[in-house]
Symmetry: C2
Subunit: 284 residues, 2 copies
Amino acid sequence: MPKTAAPNTPDISPQQAQDFIAIAHQLADAARTQTLAKFRPDGGIAAANKLSAGFDPVTEADQASERAMREILAQLRPQDGIYGEELGKSWGQSGLTWVLDPIDGTRGFMAGTPTWGVLIGLAQSDGATLGAPVFGMVDQPYIGERFWGGFGQARMTGPHGGRELRARAAQQASETLSDAVVFTTFPEVGTLEERALFERVSGAAKLTRYGMDCYAYALLALGQIDLVIEAQLQPYDIQGPMAVVEAAGGIVTNWQGGPAHLGGQVIAAANPQVHRAALALMAQ
Amino acid sequence: MPKTAAPNTPDISPQQAQDFIAIAHQLADAARTQTLAKFRPDGGIAAANKLSAGFDPVTEADQASERAMREILAQLRPQDGIYGEELGKSWGQSGLTWVLDPIDGTRGFMAGTPTWGVLIGLAQSDGATLGAPVFGMVDQPYIGERFWGGFGQARMTGPHGGRELRARAAQQASETLSDAVVFTTFPEVGTLEERALFERVSGAAKLTRYGMDCYAYALLALGQIDLVIEAQLQPYDIQGPMAVVEAAGGIVTNWQGGPAHLGGQVIAAANPQVHRAALALMAQ
């Protein structure tokens, strides 16, 4: 698999790659069932939260979703590590770790929006730290949309069928960003300093959209937008989306152009031109 | 129809009401076909825009969607008026006018998000001005979700089936808004003064979400959120959503508590308690 193999990637045969892709679909299917069961209850989640004595429904859905995925991995890939948002970390013996965000965009989930997602990454790992993802998946259970990339695939399926993922090429004005469509979780997330840097890019762009959570990375991989800029990400927020975007030909780095697979300040770009232009603005 | 009849409503029989609901579904079906044909082209809309010489694809989709709805109305309801975003106004002889926003949330449509919508309102009219809507519909073609209200109905259908719409009741903390979930199109729309008033409510609320366009009103009617606050709306932005929210038991007014059916500064609330609390904060 020359396309995705990095120097430290464990040897993964084409057959194993197919197995990993199939397992990721199983994980996402299981997470769909658990998350949809708690999505949009009568009266909404804030109300449900007030009625039940203790646990909030988002946390319940989050944990049930991660638990369902862990049960499948325990059966099929006990030798791999698991790095989950809700239920902790374990390092396996295989050199591979599944990175799970059972509900990315919990605020959106709580409000009933259809742009939260289940994120699955498969990362290289050396038994103490996560490396870069070799495969990733972004699933939106309510719409029934799934995006995945790695091992030579970059595809989506949804309510109107499936298609290949390809980040869009540079446009005429990519060097100035004046054509660019930018997504972000600001103003909800990030320090004032981070926001000021973001606004340099946003101010130069054609259009900025807010509040789409992980769905923004899916739109970038689908060739619909140019940039996603976020801060304060955890590894499980970015491993899945990063692999999908990279498989679609996009670029994911931190705001200095370095590795982004552990989260922090992340920029995803559709092509080298918009990536370079955005980094230059943020570095000024 | 005592539930929806206002003093100036033309007499509408139960059979006519059923016909109007059926026509609205036909309109939304026709708009779905037209909008989906232009949604998420390869390389995205900004790119498509650069390639074609003149017309931008959002305008094309907008006009094709409105034209398809107008053709149906010309056949089935030539006596009614039409107040459309794209193709102008005409006042009919029936005292009723169809208010059409063929794509609400064009920025979202352009970016490929699934939260734009087709808005249909049926308003009282006296031949020169629009009155309040007696029926409304919010349709999201990509997800395949449709919300409608009026003539005694308040319902939705979507990928996981249908359900009744009911805005949620006051919660314990509704008087202080500390439990409230608020949606808005700020910071994209509105003056600085308007934004400052909005931020009084946003600052008191539990959660604020951005960028969902008309979809926010659907979530309010569905009982998932408490408030939608917007400014600078046109009549066609609010007539459809307003009827859906009111049929679900919610309240839609301007920021002073007066009529909102002509747009401007609009607040939609799930119940009188959150409505009162938000208006009080904005009036201080």
